[in-house]
Amino acid sequence: MARDLEAYLRSDVKSTPFCPGCGHGILMNAILRAIDELHLPMDKMLFVSGIGCAAWIPSPNFNADTLHTLHGRAIAFATGAKMFNPELKVVVISGDGDLTSIGGNHLIHAARRDMDMTVICANNMIYGMTGGQVASTTPLGASTATSVDGNIYRPFDLCKLVQAAGASYVARYSVTQVVSLKEAIKKAMSTKGFTFVEVLSPCPTQFGRRNRYDAPTDMLKTLMESCIPVEEVERLSGEALKDKIVTGEFIHG
């Protein structure tokens, strides 16, 4: 973590728990940089997370109130805290399996209520912490510990899901798009209502090794090549869109 952001981290936490090549460190940096640039006071912020690798981004690293909850339930805990004390600036940071599979119901209902909170979903397209099982976000055909012949089910488009449920701000960026990602988080944190940022974050340990990415850099390169801005989608034909990940802001707030 960059020295200028040290004040945002607990002094007694010396290292991050993430694997080499994991994208979550970049995301952690982007979140804190967004907070720094917005001058948000950390003593009025509450970071809520579920269970999984991404849930460890705020807990115990961030120098603020953190609530590390049950698997899937971060948004439900966050709802109670925010409703009782609206002064708290509530940010939920968790993974794709946590927020959209076991916790999918809470996600859509918080979006429907336009609950005033920011949800940052670190999407590595797999269950990382438990050993690389197929997720509701795993691409068709991808190999995982529980889909060794390739995933036969379509993944969720999380942004469309949350958008349909009524969110006030929706964006998707990859950790390879650091400036846009930071700006999106800033916008999400400064927009009232339910705001959602999906962040594509590579998992070389569980996803990469099962899907012919020989090195973490291969995953980053592939991410950079497959991400296309939402503005370009209209100009491209169906074939050119194959295997592409559309990034950008889908609901502007």
Binding site: D43, P60, H68, T69, G80, A81, F84, N85
Partner: protein, 380 residues
């Protein structure tokens, strides 16, 4: 511990309430200012009334998407500074169990009113049962303690809800009011006193919120937004909240303390009532709605000159083991009528040295007083 005598919000006097309405008023009187819930028979009247009452007193009501979200939102609200509760029945209580363990391990004070119906499964949603006592004790994984109360009247739905909040705050523990459908829907007179004694959680700036030097202590509890940089986690943690998932000693220390803080103080937690107990040959041990029938039976048998007595358990967990041990030494027989298949009779068997006769009724009806008279007469 911060004890307060406050004026009752509800004007003092007599009211004709249902048990569910009384529990709602007890919660408001105790200072409950957040409720997260989901509709379920036979508890829904609590949610309907508290939705209105919380608005009147400046609290927050949330109807959540399911029971899991309800209890999780309650835990979130408690850490944001609220006294909070939810109410449910068997199926919803089952869904809440993972979060109950989380609350016990993070030492989150909260109250659940379980208006028990005839289970298992969906069972008979509108009919009475009392089959959730073992679930209340053992429902979540791992070793932890909760406190459960068993009301027998509308008055106790009010009084014990206040007590539930006070115990939750005193011991930083989940407390369950194990009501039964019959008392939830019963209407009878109850009294509201002019003053209400309430306990508020202890706060101590900078003190560790998850550890005490004693192995049975209750640490002070700060809230979010107070500048304490709280670390709340359901993983094993040290006294300041840092995860210690590889440290066997940290786990042992925490598990022992969350058990001891209840078990070592059980004598001051447990409440019972005795009727004609001293010279009784046959003692009926009863709780909840069934104790009303049991009291009728004891009074009837005493009129006949028979030595019958009643021990009523107002607290189910922690269990009144010392008292039951004593009763078992003096009585010839203990009779335990229950609207389940003998859940508490099994506990009594562990501690009483005399004969323990279990009477089980699971037909969705209350146990008729005459049935208890008849059964006890055959034992006398």
């Amino acid at each position: 511990m911060n004890v307060q005598e406050i004026d009752s919000l509800l004007p003092a006097g007599s009211y004709y309430f249902s048990g569910n309405e009384a529990a709602t008023e007890g919660a408001i009187a105790a200072g409950c200012r957040y409720y997260g819930g989901y509709p379920i028979t036979p508890s829904s009247e609590i949610m309907e009334r508290i939705a209105v009452r919380l608005k009147e007193v400046g609290g927050v009501f949330m109807q959540m998407e399911d029971e899991i979200a309800s209890i999780c939102s309650v835990i979130g609200a408690v850490w944001a500074g609220a006294k909070a509760m939810t109410a449910t029945a068997g199926p919803g209580f089952s869904l809440m169990q993972e979060a109950v363990g989380y609350a016990a391990f993070t030492e989150t004070p909260l109250v659940i009113v379980d208006v028990q119906r005839a289970g298992p499964g969906t069972g008979q949603a509108t009919r009475v049962g009392s089959g959730d006592h073992m679930q209340a004790k053992w429902g979540s994984h791992g070793d932890y303690q909760v406190i459960t109360l068993s009301p027998w009247s509308v008055q106790e739905m009010y009084d014990q809800t206040i007590e539930a909040f006070n115990l939750a705050e005193q011991y930083r523990v989940p407390v369950f009011l194990m009501a039964e459908e019959a008392v939830g829907h019963l209407r009878e007179r109850m009294d509201v006193r002019p003053k209400v004694k309430i306990l508020n959680r202890l706060k101590k700036k900078g003190a560790p919120p998850f550890g005490t030097p004693e192995d049975d202590g209750v640490p002070p509890m700060p809230s979010f937004g107070e500048g304490e940089n709280l670390l709340v986690t359901g993983s094993t943690h040290n006294e300041v909240g840092i995860r210690k998932t590889d440290d066997g000693n940290a786990h042992e220390r925490l598990v022992i303390r969350i058990n001891n803080k209840i078990l070592k103080h059980r004598q001051s937690i447990i409440k019972t009532e005795a009727y004609s107990l001293d010279d009784a040959d046959v003692v009926v041990i009863s709780y909840g709605f069934t104790a009303r029938s049991a009291l009728f039976a004891v009074e009837r048998l005493r009129k006949e000159g028979k030595k019958a007595g009643l021990l009523r358990l107002k607290t189910i967990w922690p269990f009144a083991e010392e008292l039951i041990c004593e009763v078992g030494k003096k009585a010839k027989k203990i009779f335990v009528p229950e609207m389940n298949r003998g859940q508490i009779a099994g506990e009594i068997l562990k501690y009483a040295e005399c004969d323990v006769v279990s009477y089980c009724q699971t037909d969705g009806e209350i146990i008729h007083p005459h049935k208890i008279v008849e059964e006890m007469r055959s034992l006398l």
